[in-house]
């Protein structure tokens, strides 16, 4: 078996999400290479070479790959991936955007967000908002998989000494152009990597009230999330949405404040180790998954919690 893991990075550093796919690759078993596609991304290749258990790092360094445009990156993955038994990437928005496109170019039915490896061709994955877990077997010659980050521990970022090889092939479809981005800047830990996450929902009432959540999060060193309703209402930006169609998190501690617990929200956080719910409605479904439920008005509970920490 030979497995290609697509690196998640920002052209200067390798993102920890990559390491979850490395662990999934190890569960499949075989030689593991990492493909770094980017522009001016040698530093990423060097970090990838340090990851424990990697045979080879392939770097496709070209201006056309700088923003991970699917039209340019997918043909490269299809080309490089053709000699592997498996092509994997962690299910970030970047990978979800490009890997299915590469799979179609390879005439492969990709499998999304695997949560367990049963064997080299059989995998488990949550479907229907995580209400059931499917076991699926692929008959394609090459398996193209995205990996649910929360289901696999991160492989050690250090300890390896893989060789680095350049991939010369350049694809520039000229069909799309990157115009800009609005990146939310925050000193708080990234949601999907945080050990503690505090999330607010519609019950927060408005965006200003989220300052109560930020203050508690900062005392706990926590990341901050939100329900769809809080994002739709404009309380917080979209990248904070936790759920079936937002980010999937599984921290040691998840605190849901003013969130009712719709299945779409639960799908994104119910694998957290310890769940706390603060809600004034004792019938709220969130309590059915909470280890510790506090029936209270958040406007009194949050200041008290802040003071107690």
């Amino acid at each position: 078996m030979s497995i290609l893991v697509i690196a998640e990075h920002d052209n200067s550093s390798l993102k920890p999400a990559t390491l979850n796919s490395v662990t999934a690759a190890q569960a499949i078993g075989g030689d593991i290479d990492i493909l770094v596609i980017g522009s001016d991304c040698q530093a990423v290749a060097e970090q990838a070479a340090q990851v424990a258990g990697i045979s080879k790092v392939l770097v496709a360094d070209n201006a056309a790959y700088g923003h991970q445009l699917a039209e340019n990156v997918a043909p490269l993955i299809a080309e490089v991936g053709a000699t592997y038994s498996h092509v994997l990437g962690t299910a970030t928005t970047t990978i979800k955007n490009i890997l299915p496109r590469a799979a179609a170019l390879m005439d492969v039915q990709a499998i999304s967000e695997i949560s367990a490896v049963v064997s080299a061709d059989t995998f488990k994955r949550p479907i229907y908002a995580g209400n059931v877990i499917a076991t699926v077997q692929s008959s394609d010659a090459i398996k193209v998989l995205t990996v649910r980050g929360t289901a696999f521990d991160a492989a050690p970022a250090e300890g390896g000494s893989a060789s680095i090889e350049a991939v010369a092939s350049a694809h520039n479809a000229g069909k799309s152009e990157f115009k800009g981005e609005e990146v939310a800047k925050s000193d708080r830990p990234e949601l999907t990597a945080a050990k503690i996450v505090v999330s607010g929902g519609r019950g927060m009432g408005n965006g200003d009230n989220f300052s109560m959540i930020y203050s508690i999060a900062d005392k706990l060193g926590a990341g901050v999330g939100a329900s769809r309703a809080a994002v739709d209402a404009g309380f917080v930006p979209n990248d904070m949405q936790v759920g079936q169609t937002g980010k999937i998190v599984a921290p040691d501690l998840y605190v849901a404040v003013g969130i009712s617990g719709a299945i779409q929200h639960l799908a994104g956080m119910k694998d957290s180790k310890v769940i706390v719910a603060i809600n004034k409605d004792e019938e709220a479904p969130i309590f059915s998954v909470a280890d510790y439920g506090l029936v209270a008005d958040l406007f009194t509970a949050l200041p008290e919690l802040d003071a107690a920490l």
Partner: protein, 250 residues
């Protein structure tokens, strides 16, 4: 500009599905079915483009069983001009669906193809990207804003880090995220009118598409149940439990 919208018939988002007793698949007997919420957003976007005079024709397309006609009628009631059903009773995967949609696109030559980012049954999040590969056209997934200027599309995308703006040459595929728009409800007169709008039926065979599955479903199971928790009296007790029992804060 000709717009094609792909709509999928799925379990209604309020339904909590369960495995069949033999664990072979999910039990969809007597379950409410609806248009996939992200597809509804895609249809709404297409209709708004028509209302602005940007879209000249909106064609709704679905691939699946005869009953998908219900969801196509919904799209027609929301404002699509005509519909195409690629009818089959076989189980379908994103790649096979993308191939059927490609054949329809080859015949219709749309300038814009609107789709949902994800179908809430299989949670695949693949079909749009795959169709873009097969058509060798540009793509913008997870769109929260779409505009047109100078024969190009500009899309704001919801990505992990925030928002990204892309400019795309046409034809292009745009998949909707939740914030692209808020879909309208179909009015009764429009539901009546939709019954008379054209709905063509084809089969994958007619289109020359092989839909043989590549992935076999071996079974489904319930996820691990969470242990029932406790209610705490107050914040002091909560903090005490988190520190001394769960040991998740210090």
């Amino acid at each position: 500009m000709k717009v094609l919208v792909a709509v999928k018939r799925v379990v209604d988002y309020n339904v909590k599905v369960r495995p069949k007793s033999d664990g072979s698949d999910v039990d969809l007997a007597n379950v409410k079915m609806s248009i996939n919420p992200f597809c509804e957003i895609a249809v709404e976007e297409a209709v708004r483009l028509a209302e602005k005079g940007i879209a000249t024709e909106v064609i709704a397309v679905s691939v699946g069983a005869k009953q998908c006609q219900e969801q196509l009628r919904t799209a027609l009631a929301l404002g699509a001009d005509r519909a195409i059903l690629v009818e089959t009773d076989e189980s379908l995967e994103p790649l096979a669906i993308a191939k059927c949609l490609k054949a329809v696109c080859d015949a219709e030559s749309p300038d814009l193809i609107l789709m949902g980012k994800q179908a809430i049954d299989g949670d695949n999040n693949q079909t749009g990207q795959m169709l873009a590969a097969l058509l060798d056209c540009s793509q913008a997934t997870f769109a929260s804003e779409l505009s047109f200027d100078d024969g190009k599309a500009t899309v704001i995308r919801e990505v992990d880090g925030g928002l990204q703006t892309l400019e795309l040459t046409l034809p292009t595929i745009v998949t909707s995220d939740l914030r692209l728009n808020e879909p309208r409800y179909a009015s009764l007169p429009n539901i009546m009118k939709a019954k008379r709008k054209p709905l063509d039926v084809k089969t994958p065979d007619d289109l020359g598409v092989n839909i043989t599955p590549r992935v076999t479903l071996l079974g489904v199971e319930l996820p691990a149940e969470r242990q029932a928790g406790i209610k705490v009296e107050d914040v002091a007790m909560l903090v005490d439990k988190l520190k001394n029992e769960a040991k998740v804060i210090s």
